[in-house]
Amino acid sequence: MIAQALFGTLFIAALALFARNIRRIGRNIHLGRPEARNDRKGERWALMARVALGQSKMVARPVAGVMHILIYAGFVIINLEVLEIVIDGLFGTHRVFAFLGGFYDFLIGGFEVLAVGVLLACVVFIARRAVLQLPRFHKPEMKGWPSKDAMIILVTEIALMGAFLKMNAADQVLAQRGVEHYSTAGSYPVSALLQPFFMGMSDGAVIAFERFFWWFHILGILAFLNYLVVSKHLHILLAFPNVWYSKLAPRTEFANMPRITGEVRSMVDPSVPPPDPAQPRTVAGVEMTERFGAKDVFDLSWKSLMDAYSCTECGRCTSECPANLTGKLLSPRKIMMDTRDRLEEVGKAIDAKGKWEDDGKSLHSRISEEELWACTTCNACTQACPVNIDPVSIIMEMRRYKVMEESSTRPALTSMFNNIENNGAPWAFGPDRRMEWADEMKS
C-alpha cells in the first residue's frame, strides 16, 4: 500500500512537472512572430507520416539511419510495457496484461528483442562519438554541455534497457520458484540468459533485486521524461509537429514581406497612400513594434523557434554545408543551437520578472556577421535535416535586420545594391548595354 501511494505520488508529480515545462516551451515558441502554417493539411499529414513517423530522411545515411530506427522503434513499442508497469505500480497488481495469453508472450518477447536492439544501437552511437570521433560530433559548438547531453541520453537509455531486462530475469526466477505474486506469463528470450545471476540467491534477495530494477526502470523513465525538456532529446516529441509545420514552398522561395510592399508601392506611386503603421504586438507583457528582419527571437517566426527546440544537434546540416566544409565560421547547427539558447535565456528572464525587460542582448550577440554572410542559401542544410528544420530562414531574417535596420553589410554587397538601384543590374552596366550580345549576333 505504501509502495502504491509512493508510486502514485511520484508518477503524478513527474507528469505535472513535465506538463509545466511543456507549457513553458510552448509559451517560448509563441514569443515568435505569427505565421500561418496550417494550409494544405493533407499534404502535411502525409509529410509527417513519411518524414517523422517513417524516418525517411534518416536513412539517407544508412548506418546511423538503421541504428536510429532501432532505438525509435524500441522507444515507441516498449512504451506499451510502460503502460503495464504504471498500472501495476498504481494498483499493486503484477503483470496485469498477462491475461492476454499467447499474445502477451509475443509482446514481452518482442520487447526484450527490441531492448537488445536499443542497447546495441546506443553502444554503436557512443562508439561513433567517443571512439570513431566522427567529425560532425566534434565541431566547436559541440564542446561542453552538448556533448555531455548526448552521452547522458545514450547512457541512460542503456541503463533503462538493462534494468528492464534484469527486472524480467529476476521476475522469472521468482515465478519459477513459485513465489507468491509472481506469474510465469510472458516469454523471455533475452532475459532468460541473465537468470543464472540470481539462481544462487535467497527468495528475499531476488525479490529485492526485482523491486530495485522495477523501481529503477520506471523512475528512470519518469526522470528521463523530465530530462527531455532541458535537453536536445526533446526532438523525440517535437519531430512530429515540426515536420507537420514544414515549409511546403520550394526551398529557395523566400517569404514575401507584405509591409515593405506597401511602402514600396507608395514610394513608387505618390497616389498610393503609405501603409498604416504596423500594429505593435504585445509579447510577454511588452508592446513590440515590428522590425524589418530579426534582431531577437521575438522577430523570428514561431516556426523558427519550434525548429530550434526540435534540433537534436545531429549535425547533418553542418556536415553538408558548403561554407562549413570549406572552413568558414558558419555552422547551420550552431544557428539552431544559438537560437534555442537565446530563447531559453529570454524565457527564463520572463519567468523571473513576470514580463520581458530588454537585457541588452539579442540573437546577434551569439551569431556573428561573419557567420551570416557565409551562407550561400544553397539549402543543403534544409535538405539534410531529418526533421525539416530550416536554418536558412533564420540567417535570412538576421541578414534583413542587419541590412535594413542597421545598414550593415559587406562593402561589396553595398556596391551591388547601388548598381541594381542605379543600373538595374548587379554590375556597373547600364540598360543601354543590355542588347550588346544581340548586336554581336547580327555582325
Binding site: 558548403p322 570549406t326 554572410w373 542559401t377 543543403a380 545594391f417 538595374g424 543601354d432 544581340a438
Partner: protein, 263 residues
C-alpha cells in the same frame, strides 16, 4: 546562319499587335557577363532553329532583385520586382524562359506574391520540351567518347526539384554522362548563391568553388556541364585554379546542344 537570326523585343511585338510564344528573360549575367553572353547566344540559336516565336525585353529588362533579396535588402528587391511585374503584366506576358536558375526561381516563386504570375521555365526544361516535340533534332553531335558530368544548380535542383530536364537533354548527346558523388538533392553548391557572387568569400580554409571543381575534376570529365551562369563562372575559375583548362571545359547545357545541332 547566325545572320538570319532576329531578336525581336516585346515592344516590337506589341507595336505589331502580336504576342510571342515565350519571353526569353536574358538576365543580367546573360546580358553583361562575357562568358554568360555565349550561353545567351547559344540559347537564341536554339530558339531560332526551333522556330520559336520568342521576344526579349531588351532595355526594359531589369535585375529580378534576387541578389538584393538574398543579401537582405528586401526594399530593393521589391522595387525591382514591382517594376518588373508592371512591365511584364503591361505586355501581358504569360510564359517566360530563362537560362538563369536564380531569375527562374524569383520569377516563378516570388513574383506571384507581388502580382506577377507566369509560367516560368528554365532553359533546360524548354530545350528538353523542344527536343521531345521534335522541334529541334540532335543526333549525338560528335561527342562520341567524351565524358560529361552535370553540376546541379542549387536554385534549379534542390530549390525547385528539377533534376531530370538537364540530364535528359544531355543524354541526347552521344557522350557518357557521369554523376558526381554529390549530385541531385545532395549536390554541392558552387559557392555563388545568396549574394556570394558579388562579394569576397568569408574567411575559411578554401573557396567553395574549389571544393566543387575538385570533385567535378575527380570524375575525369572532358566537359563539366552547367545550367547556371554563376555556377559556370565559379567552375571555370576552379578548373583554371587546378590548371586543367586545357583538358576540361565548362559548358552550359544550351551551348552543348547548340554545338551538337550545329546551330
Amino acid at each position: 546562319m547566325s545572320d538570319a537570326i532576329r531578336i525581336p523585343t516585346m515592344a516590337e511585338f506589341a507595336a505589331s499587335g502580336e504576342a510571342p510564344e515565350v519571353l526569353f528573360w536574358v538576365g543580367c549575367a546573360g546580358s553583361f557577363d562575357d562568358r554568360a553572353r555565349k550561353i545567351t547566344k547559344a540559347f537564341v540559336r536554339i530558339l531560332s532553329a526551333a522556330r520559336v516565336r520568342f521576344a526579349v525585353l531588351g532595355q526594359e529588362e531589369s535585375c529580378t532583385g534576387d541578389p538584393a533579396r538574398r543579401a537582405g535588402n528586401e526594399f530593393l528587391f521589391q522595387m525591382q520586382a514591382l517594376n518588373n511585374v508592371t512591365v511584364l503584366n503591361g505586355y501581358g506576358v504569360k510564359r517566360i524562359v530563362t537560362a538563369c536558375p536564380h531569375c527562374f526561381n524569383t520569377l516563378k516563386n516570388e513574383y506571384p506574391a507581388l502580382g506577377g504570375s507566369y509560367e516560368v521555365m528554365h532553359h533546360t526544361q524548354f530545350i528538353n520540351a523542344l527536343l521531345k516535340e521534335g522541334r529541334i533534332k540532335v543526333e549525338g553531335g560528335g561527342f562520341a567518347g567524351k565524358r560529361i558530368t552535370f553540376h546541379d544548380p542549387c536554385y534549379l535542383g534542390r530549390g525547385n526539384g528539377e533534376y531530370e530536364a538537364p540530364r535528359e537533354v544531355l543524354l541526347k548527346l552521344d557522350a557518357a554522362l557521369m554523376e558526381l558523388k554529390r549530385s541531385r538533392q545532395n549536390g554541392l553548391c558552387c559557392g555563388a548563391g545568396g549574394g556570394q557572387m558579388f562579394k569576397e568569400p568569408e574567411p575559411g580554409s578554401r573557396d567553395v568553388n574549389l571544393e566543387r571543381s575538385e570533385e567535378a575534376l575527380g570524375a575525369k570529365p572532358d566537359i563539366i556541364a552547367a545550367g547556371c551562369p554563376f555556377c559556370n563562372t565559379m567552375l571555370t575559375d576552379g578548373v583554371k585554379h587546378f590548371n586543367k583548362e586545357g583538358e576540361v571545359v565548362v559548358k552550359d547545357v544550351a551551348e552543348l546542344i547548340a554545338e551538337a545541332g550545329e546551330l
